[in-house]
């Protein structure tokens, strides 16, 4: 069994992160000492690595909760997990598209400004942002 400090160091996360995972019902200590200190087993180390790898693939903590629920659900199958992964890929593709649009908008602003020593009230970038017809939501 590991203390929170030991398992955090083994898994490469902070003790605060582990407490947060616990609050989000992603992990729970296997037991507690008489003094109330959390104790974790090897399964917890595997669970933390699962969470970290899933986060690396773009899954949020609530997605990970869904993945872990599927993992333990008797009637779930690989297809269900794959669907979640495909939906995550769709979300990422949407974000990429939005970022590309931002990048193009910035290109346009940068092209319109030579960046000389003119005062900022003559700056074409600030003027373009100020005069934008875009709706502010």
């Amino acid at each position: 069994m590991y203390t929170i400090g030991k398992i955090a160091s083994l898994a490469g996360v902070s003790p605060d992160t582990l407490r947060y995972y616990e609050k989000e019902h992603l992990i729970a200590p296997a037991s507690k000492t008489g003094a109330g200190y959390r104790l974790y087993n090897d399964e917890a180390v595997r669970r933390i690595r699962f969470i970290k790898t899933a986060q690396h693939c773009g899954f949020s903590l609530s997605d990970i909760q869904a993945l872990l629920t599927l993992k333990q659900a008797e009637r779930a199958c690989c297809r269900d997990v794959r669907s979640l992964a495909i939906e995550k890929k769709l979300h990422i593709a949407h974000k990429l598209r939005a970022l590309q649009a931002m990048s193009r908008a910035l290109d346009e602003l940068i092209r319109g400004c030579e960046g000389g020593a003119a005062p900022t009230d003559e700056c074409p970038i600030l003027a373009a942002l100020e005069n934008s017809q875009h709706e502010v939501s």
Partner: protein, 88 residues
């Protein structure tokens, strides 16, 4: 005028395949076979197209290039949409 209905889903989606037959039959009965263009879109093969439609979950249904359902509609919901389309 033809109506293009696209079902955007992941390949191998069991619930999508099951429901598609029923939805297609509804579309054919409301619009008529000759006016219906029915297409099954694999989200993996046409990811950019799915993104351009605004698809975030599956299965989704687009009508004439516009996302109408972000999840599988009930037969009633689908029929209502097509009937509205006919009226409009």
């Amino acid at each position: 005028m033809t109506v293009r209905i696209e079902v955007i889903a992941a390949p191998g989606c069991g619930k999508c395949a099951g429901a598609q037959g029923e939805l297609r039959a509804i579309a054919a009965s409301v619009l008529g076979e000759d006016r219906l263009i029915w297409r099954e879109v694999s989200v993996l093969e046409e990811l950019d197209y799915a993104v351009s439609l605004g698809v975030l979950s599956m299965p989704a249904i687009a009508v004439n290039g516009e996302l109408k359902f972000s999840s599988l509609p009930t037969p009633e919901q689908f029929r209502t949409l097509l009937t509205t389309l006919e009226a409009g």
